[in-house]
Symmetry: C2
Subunit: 371 residues, 2 copies
């Protein structure tokens, strides 16, 4: 089966690497003019002139990037199956739709308000209690459009800075850690959930994801499974879905946001689970049975950001798996990741610290289970 991928970055490339052994071949549609995937065929189409040619080559379409014009995806749906559907993209592109869906399905979120003026923003900041974060309802390609308000009187300036007609305002959560759950749903409605991961970010960029979590109550995993299953079923979703959550001191989970695609916090599954998220996404969208999602061992994914480490030094680490994306160095850019596996979580974190020392400018890893 020939699979069409909208986008041609590292997620597409890793999908392709997982799909060759399944007998798949890949065609990428790149609208940026700067594809990084160099496997399969890349149709470079910044002016949207070659869509028909792209669609002629493929049996099914998926994407590595949800900030796509919904109209484009709907048009493609007229010709070829698209998984996940345009409905999933639509919800994930719009913070109000996303929160509304969470609310409707009984998935708790941090307290929030939707505001349509600087005055409403100021009122919301007062009600929720500062600091709050204000975000544009629709996100641009660059992830910009956010501001933190330390007091309600900053509303006018924040409103002007963001410059959107509708914002969502969120209370800060006193969370213990950021976690995520990745799940996959097949065309027949079957669902499999991966063990939850703990995620460590720096400046909004994921740096470390570890799974499975030794200190996670079984009930918390079950709650997350229930939340993501509700989302998958509600959207009649096909493929991999990622849900980012905050976990409070009491163990409560609050949904932050979701991504309708393979996700950086699931890269640990490439070496740490029986079936990777990439293979399971491909199995799902072509109607194959889903693979098992169990973890093989305690695993930590370490992102390579901005500058490359020495491959020699990284590969000296026992049970270290290097995944380079073939991209040039640039500050803040995701260049690759390293999956570390170990016999225990203590050993895992020691190894993660050793690995972090090899990465220019990497923060020290801190996981809540690492005491």
């Amino acid at each position: 089966m020939n699979i069409g991928i909208l986008g041609a970055g590292q997620l597409g490339q890793m999908l392709a690497l997982a799909g060759y052994p399944l007998g798949n071949r890949f065609t990428f549609l790149d609208t940026t003019g700067k594809p990084s995937a160099d496997i399969g065929e890349v149709v470079i189409d910044p002016d949207n002139q070659h869509l028909a040619a792209f669609l002629d080559k493929v049996d099914v379409v998926t994407y590595e990037f949800e900030h796509l014009p919904v109209a484009l995806v709907r048009e493609i749906e007229q010709h070829k199956p698209v998984y996940p559907s345009s409905r999933a993209i639509e919800v994930c592109q719009n913070r109000v739709e996303e929160k509304t869906l969470f609310d409707r399905l009984g998935i708790p979120t941090p307290a929030y308000r939707v505001v349509a003026s600087a005055a409403e923003l100021e009122a919301a900041a007062g009600e929720l209690g500062c600091p709050v974060v204000a975000k544009s309802v629709t996100e641009g390609y660059d992830g910009k459009g956010q501001a933190v308000l330390r007091k309600p009187s900053e509303a006018a300036s924040a409103w002007a800075t963001i410059g959107h007609s509708q914002l969502i305002v969120e209370a800060f959560v006193d969370f213990v850690r950021e976690v995520s759950i990745i799940a996959v749903r097949g065309r027949d409605g079957s669902v499999k959930c991966y063990p939850m991961a703990e995620n460590q970010h720096l400046d909004g960029i994921l740096r470390y994801s570890a799974a499975p979590l030794p200190d996670l109550d079984v009930g918390v995993q079950q709650t997350a499974d229930r939340y993501i299953q509700a989302l998958l079923d509600e959207l009649d979703y096909v493929g991999v879905l990622a849900l980012e959550l905050f976990q409070s001191r009491e163990g409560t989970l609050l949904a932050n946001e979701m991504a309708p695609r393979v996700h950086n916090s699931g890269h640990w599954t490439m070496d740490g689970a029986i079936t990777s998220q990439f293979e399971n996404h491909l199995r799902a969208i072509q109607g194959l049975p889903l693979g098992e999602t169990r973890a093989l061992a305690p695993t930590c994914m370490v992102n390579v950001i901005g500058r490359e480490p020495s491959s020699v030094e990284v590969l000296k680490l026992p049970n270290a798996h290097l995944h380079r994306y073939g991209k040039g160095e640039r500050a803040g850019r995701k260049l690759g990741h390293i999956n570390l596996l170990a016999g225990s979580h203590a050993e895992l974190m020691a190894k993660t610290r050793d690995c972090a020392k090899l990465l220019p400018d990497a923060p020290a890893p801190h996981m809540t289970f690492d005491t």
Copy 2:
């Protein structure tokens, strides 16, 4: 690093899939006009006109097929590093050189004679005791050039059939099983050996390889490790080497033949070992540290020969990993393989039997450890 591969079949393709995450890109030199690898760049060169262009693109050269003209490999060595070296190819292409090397390193083999006439063949058959197998010293691309003699008087007809000026004559071995060992040697001389596999052939084609072996004496693995290490060191070898052996009822190992490349009996390592033979071959030839070779769980590799099974049915098996090569169906052709992992060897063999039922014309799996 750009890696040049002589040959463009499934072994080259699996090397490429293992190498993308290491940051490698691949250029294949195909002299058959019928490449099956469709990843990276394939230089189709049946008339040997494009070698310079191929060499310009690559930093280091390896191969997936040892029946290459030694003169060609020597020529390439003048321009770019080739691993394993032409010396390894030379030895592996010539059964007399290979046996002589085994003898010199104290690696036992089945009793054999080298003969240069029908009369010598008849005498050797008498000495060794029929049946014997007579083989041309150098093997053609098609693997032909063998005959079994049930009595010495068949020598004249066998000699005429094979039609070579020098043959090697081997006694039949009363072996319990066929086994193999795969090892890898780095540019710095470091060596790692994989757990031995038991191999089941049908009509000269590998059908099943299982590893690790629950009934293998530690001393036998150590003996095999010693044999292959001696070969690697003697040849100053860089990359993966496979050594096929017979194991007698008493546990003695007799070397059959070796292959200077990644090997079908090592495909189980793709899912069943910490580092696959493909990744370790690539790590070796580019001077990276070798990866661990430990098995993750009892694993059986099932070859897909001639006709494809249903991917849906195969992927319903728990912990089954499908590797399709993207080739058309044809009798006797290797189209793919399936790696099965299980919690115990009993469970593994039950699963292997389930898998075999999905493969048209597959023989029933028989492993000596499966009682």
